[in-house]
């Protein structure tokens, strides 16, 4: 990954030119560079706030799916759709 990123960083040209070249001609390097950049970028509090992303945080179990039976009613009504054999029970 480091080698791939070096290839991108050492290429002369504007950022857009370099990235476009990598995207078109050196895709592994492009993807590696994007990975490093993206994984750093998404740690920014500002970026996260702008996306409404709270991070991977615990969530209180607020939905016990009280209406699960209602949601599943069509599936139950249809029943076996794969054609089981007698032996299967």
């Amino acid at each position: 990954m480091l080698d791939h990123c070096r290839r991108v960083l050492h290429r002369p040209g504007s950022p857009e030119e370099v990235l476009r070249f990598s995207y078109d001609r050196d895709r592994d390097a492009f993807e590696a560079f994007v990975t490093v950049l993206s994984c750093t970028y998404v740690q920014s509090e500002k970026v996260r706030a702008s996306l409404g992303y709270p991070g991977q945080v615990p969530v209180r179990r607020d939905d016990r799916d009280a209406d699960l039976d209602v949601l599943l009613a069509p599936v139950r009504e249809r029943g076996d759709f794969l054609g089981r054999t007698q032996e299967d029970g």
Binding site: E16, S38, C39, V42, Q56, P58, L82, G83, D88
Partner: protein
């Protein structure tokens, strides 16, 4: 207990190779039956506080030290896998708990028809055992792993209640269910090895959503939590940092033990009356091929020539749906909240045999979305276009992840690599794996239907992601079971036809791959093998 080896250690009743799902099940059940058990594991223990899930740098850590591909991870316990001839690099984790450390906890029984592919579809082979043979063992495994689920899925024969209630569908699951109901297609809350309530060994899931880089709260049923502490308390010996390089036989040709190298480079020979291989569908054939000797010139237990052959990797694909309303799709568990088996069976009209299993999957982190952009034009991956895409998808998109049943092909195989060696100088495995035209047709069909399901659920955009196909999570078929020694490696209980006392209990024994995740079947098969070992001791 019997006599002692050179280091003064006693010969054990059973030597297990690999401390993952199957190895842990075997060790705990046999030690509970009063047998002496030693397990050799090349990796180490992990601890929930090591996992990156709740850290700000989660995205970065999930791409390297906790990546499922050992060639990317390159940890001290990993061996290199030659993949130049494989369209799908295999995934695995080496350590106590094995690949359960990184699995998503999907816990699905194979369908009854999956055991009868030859009889029903006229292709591949039937298993030598039926769903009914495994049903009681499936139920036992569900109890051992505290599976959360909802009884009554019409895709299956009637079965017992799950030990724990199902996990919440969440916004992602409810949106997915809505689309499936519009289509009139099957879905069901996914049985999952993630605790919906606290148990004596597991914490209650708090939906952090990073299950596939290790659960930081100890809520996922990994065998370092569910099995090993109890097995060790009952007397099992677990040796970590022990890389097995050869299996040994006694003068009668029975399994007699294994030679391993420890972290300091010292060589040891542990002896046992029975050896149980649970080193996964790549590690197990590698060991058998490495253990060739005078009466087994092509590798141990390989008179059929099938050791390493018929590799099946469950090629996955993924269709992303983008929705206008917020789905909080970073919220777990992931562990999929629901599955569909609508297209798991065969239908001649489709032009290919067998089918696929779908999981509605949340997306942890932000970078995972970026990975899914791999299929997009440059303008959408740079500058304004990149930002626009992130704003649209983060929290608003989920995957229909699809596994398709790939059929056994003897050309798809595990071999010994000529170039790659592990840290101890032992040849690593090489994987030769090509997708058949049939599999490509299956993948294309499933993708089209999944896009329709998203659209029926209200997605404003769908696209196929090329992210998922980089990983072959399920390593199956490389020491298949069967009743005929000329066409199978082990018998219906996992004992090698050629080597009495040598058992295989991991995914290697699979005859066909089904479309569902294999851990439940691996553990059920292992439990059945345990009963056989106990009966015959």
């Amino acid at each position: 207990m019997k006599d002692a080896d050179q280091a003064g250690r006693e010969k054990s009743d059973v030597l297990v190779v690999g401390a993952g799902a199957a190895g842990a099940v075997v060790a705990r059940n046999l030690v509970a039956a009063g047998m002496s058990v030693v397990c050799l594991e090349q990796g180490d223990w992990t601890s929930p506080d090591e996992f990156p899930g709740e850290r700000r740098e989660f995205d970065a850590l999930a791409t390297k030290p906790w990546h499922p591909d050992p060639n990317v991870r390159q940890g001290p316990s990993d061996y290199p896998v030659e993949v130049a001839d494989s369209e799908v690099p295999p995934a695995m984790f080496n350590g106590v708990g094995g690949s359960t450390i990184l699995y998503n906890g999907s816990w699905t029984r194979m369908l009854p028809a999956d055991f009868q592919v030859r009889s029903i579809d006229g292709i591949a082979d039937d298993w030598p055992i039926s769903y009914a043979d495994l049903a009681p063992y499936y139920a036992r495994a569900e109890r051992e792993f505290s599976i959360a689920g909802l009884r009554g899925d019409p895709a299956y024969p009637p079965g017992p209640e799950f030990p724990l209630p199902p996990l919440p569908l969440g916004r992602v699951g409810r949106r997915a269910a809505g689309g499936m109901n519009t289509q009139g297609w099957h879905w069901w809350p996914h049985p999952t090895a993630i605790a919906s309530r606290a148990t004596s060994r597991l914490q209650e899931c708090v939906r952090i959503g990073t299950c596939m880089s290790g659960c930081p709260r100890g809520a996922k049923a990994t065998t370092d939590l569910t099995h090993w502490p109890q097995a060790i308390a009952m007397g099992a010996e677990l040796v970590t940092g022990a890389r097995v390089r050869e299996l040994t036989l006694d003068h009668r040709g029975r399994a007699a033990g294994a030679i391993y190298t420890d972290r300091a480079g010292a060589s040891h020979h542990r002896r046992a009356d029975r050896v149980v291989l649970a080193a996964n569908g790549i590690g197990t054939p590698r060991l058998l091929l490495l253990s060739r000797q005078r009466h087994h010139p092509d590798g141990l237990a390989n008179s059929s020539g099938l050791v390493g052959r018929r590799l099946m990797l469950h090629p996955p694909t993924s269709v992303v749906g983008v929705y206008e309303d917020p789905l909080d799709s970073w919220t777990g568990p992931a562990g999929p909240p629901l599955l569909s088996l609508e297209f798991a069976g065969s239908d001649e009209a489709r032009g290919f045999a067998r089918g696929g299993k779908w999981d509605a999957f949340p997306v942890a982190g932000i970078h995972a979305h970026v990975e899914r952009f791999g299929v997009r034009r440059f303008e959408e991956r740079f500058g304004v276009g990149f930002h626009h895409n992130l704003e649209r998808v983060v929290g608003h998109a989920f995957d229909w992840d699809i596994l398709v049943e790939d059929l056994p092909d003897e050309e798809n195989r595990v071999v010994l690599s000529e170039g790659l060696r592990d840290g101890d100088g032992v040849p690593g495995p090489g994987v030769v794996y090509r997708l058949s035209e049939e599999t490509h047709a299956n993948l294309a069909f499933q993708r089209e239907r999944a896009a329709e399901a998203h659209q029926a659920g209200g997605a404003v955009e769908t696209f196929v992601s090329d992210w998922y196909p980089t990983q072959g999570w399920h390593l199956l078929g490389t020491a298949r079971c069967g009743s005929d020694p000329s066409t199978s490696v082990v018998d219906p209980f996992g004992e090698a036809h050629d080597v009495p006392g040598l058992f295989v209990v991991d995914g290697s024994v699979f005859v066909t791959s089904s479309a569902v995740n294999p851990t439940a079947t691996i553990c059920a098969f292992a439990l059945r093998a345990c009963d056989r070992i106990k009966e015959r001791r």
